[in-house]
């Protein structure tokens, strides 16, 4: 068997010399037929193959079969990276991070490490953790660093050691700054910058805008992560937002909405709860709803109150929405001053208010 293997290797290594065509760019490369690999990969790259683009990048990067050309390598990696190939995204990140063939650009490194990390690239997760751990050109955020080290831990023992030593848990928050977002057939990808020393609880919400004057729906996707990016599969035409939540769940700070073209994001979401049997309550709610909608809010009118909102006329889920709730209170009928209440177990998303009209009676 071993002899057969050796014989096979010998024949394979002779292929380029005697002019046999290689099946693939990788085969040609393995046989050190760099011209052959390049020809195959160029043809495949023209058909949109990201792997072929990566191969062409590697040839230029190392100068195999051609003079070494870091700019050309970078261009090929970039094309493959834009198509979502994690290895190429990682190489782009490294070139930005180490300043190979260009000035160092830590923000670009952060973005491309994150995009590769979202595709389970363990070394990208580790390097991104190092960026956040040391604050090397980006904001130092130990909690976010710990998240990326955790994800890399199963594959990289060094990451497992790192993640144990990092402090987590803080109530400091800051609006995440969106570095990148893209909607593709795969879904929506969003990458953000975590501010220094802030909580690493990020709520990613994706929702569809209601058609005019219709009730809004709850987010069809809402997930928290301790990382600095997210890939949401099967999403299209969605509004997306990332909120940094304090670890005590009291406060939040949100990014701007990322909205499809022509869609106006809400300035807030208001759920009006009515008692179906109460005469006139539904009609009153519809009038309030119209007023609020024309003021830029998304509104829905529900028959049932979530338990957390049942006892309160106006309630909110996060302390950060107290002022917003007071503004809504000014819109609504009341005998005397209304004190909006914080829901004990929050039923509301950030920027969402519940108005339980039956609780006013």
């Amino acid at each position: 068997m071993q002899r057969f293997h050796h014989t096979f290797c010998l024949i394979a290594s002779l292929c380029p010399a005697i002019g046999w065509a290689q099946d693939s760019g990788a085969d040609a490369f393995a046989a050190r037929d760099f011209a052959g690999a390049r020809a195959i990969w160029l043809a495949e790259a023209a058909q949109g193959s990201a792997e072929a683009m990566l191969g062409l990048g590697l040839l230029a990067d190392r100068g195999f079969g051609q003079s070494r050309d870091l700019d050309r390598a970078f261009d090929w990696y970039q094309q493959a990276a834009d198509l979502g190939l994690a290895e190429a995204q990682f190489n782009i990140a490294i070139m930005h991070d180490a300043g190979i063939g260009r000035a160092r650009d830590a923000s670009a490194a952060q973005l491309w490490y994150t995009r590769a990390a979202l595709r389970d690239h363990a070394r990208a997760q580790y390097n991104l953790g190092l960026l956040y751990e040391t604050g090397d050109g980006v904001a130092a955020n130990p909690a976010v660093a710990a998240h990326w080290f955790d994800l890399a831990s199963p594959k990289l023992p060094a990451a497992a050691e790192k993640s144990q030593d990092l402090p987590v848990g803080t109530n400091a928050i800051a609006a995440p700054q969106i570095l990148f977002s893209e909607e593709s057939v795969a879904g929506v990808e969003v990458v953000w910058d975590a501010a220094p020393e802030t909580s690493a609880t990020f709520l990613v919400e994706a929702l569809h805008a209601p058609s005019s004057n219709a009730d809004y729906d709850a987010p069809f996707f809402a997930q928290t992560t301790a990382g600095s990016g997210y890939l949401v599969g099967g999403v299209n035409n969605a509004l997306l937002r990332v909120s940094n939540l304090a670890d005590n769940d009291l406060d939040y700070a949100s990014s701007q909405w990322i909205a499809p073209e022509g869609v106006t994001p809400p300035i807030g979401r208001v759920t009006l709860i009515v008692e179906p049997e109460a005469i006139g309550m539904r009609d009153a709610a519809d009038i309030f709803a119209d007023q609020l909608r024309s003021a830029g809010y998304w509104v829905r009118v529900n028959d049932e109150a979530p338990a957390a909102t049942r006892d309160y006329y106006i309630s909110y889920g996060f302390s950060s929405d107290q002022l917003f709730a007071s503004e809504i209170a000014d819109y609504l009928p009341a005998h005397g001053e209304i004190m909006p209440m914080k829901q004990v177990a929050a039923a509301a998303y950030p920027g969402e208010i519940f108005v339980n009209l039956s609780a006013l009676q």
Binding site: N91, D97, I100, A122, R123, N127, L130, P157, A158
Partner: protein
């Protein structure tokens, strides 16, 4: 991890005279000089205590720096070259240099560098950074150099 150690140690036993080269794979050999591509060979150095092959925590940063320059893909090779100062016998120092290089190689694979991308060698007392008489403890010679191409 066990595989790495086994592989490296198997290769290590073959080498007891002169600089020992341990290739973890048959790397692309068209251009074999370590010093080419000076732009990307900053020769990171990991320092060791006298007689020790243990990587101290303050040297971990150097290893992290190394993995942040090493790209993904078949042609790239990281060269890990161990050395020793001239305290002790040449054969002891060759062993020590191999142990040091192996420790660094292990730390690099722990950081995700694939073993087949590593070339590990022990130089013993050859190619010293600082030429010294025998039995001189010289920190600059107790190093593992990391370079890549």
């Amino acid at each position: 991890m066990k595989t790495l150690n086994t592989t490296l140690m198997m290769l290590a036993v073959c080498a007891f005279a002169g600089p020992a080269v341990l290739t973890a794979q048959q790397a692309p050999q068209a251009d074999t000089t370590v010093l080419e591509d000076a732009e990307e060979s900053p020769w990171l150095k990991v320092y060791f205590g006298s007689g020790s092959a243990t990587i101290s925590p303050d040297q971990a940063e150097t290893l992290d720096r190394a993995v942040r320059t090493f790209r993904e893909g078949d042609p790239f090779v990281m060269i890990v070259a161990g050395g020793a100062d001239k305290v002790g016998s040449p054969s002891q120092n060759l062993s020590l240099s191999i142990e040091r290089a192996t420790a660094v190689a292990t730390a690099l694979t722990n950081r995700g560098i694939p073993i087949e991308r590593l070339q590990v060698l022990g130089r013993g007392n050859s190619e010293l950074q600082v030429a010294t008489p025998d039995e001189v403890a010289e920190e600059e010679n107790r190093i593992v150099e990391i370079s890549w191409r």
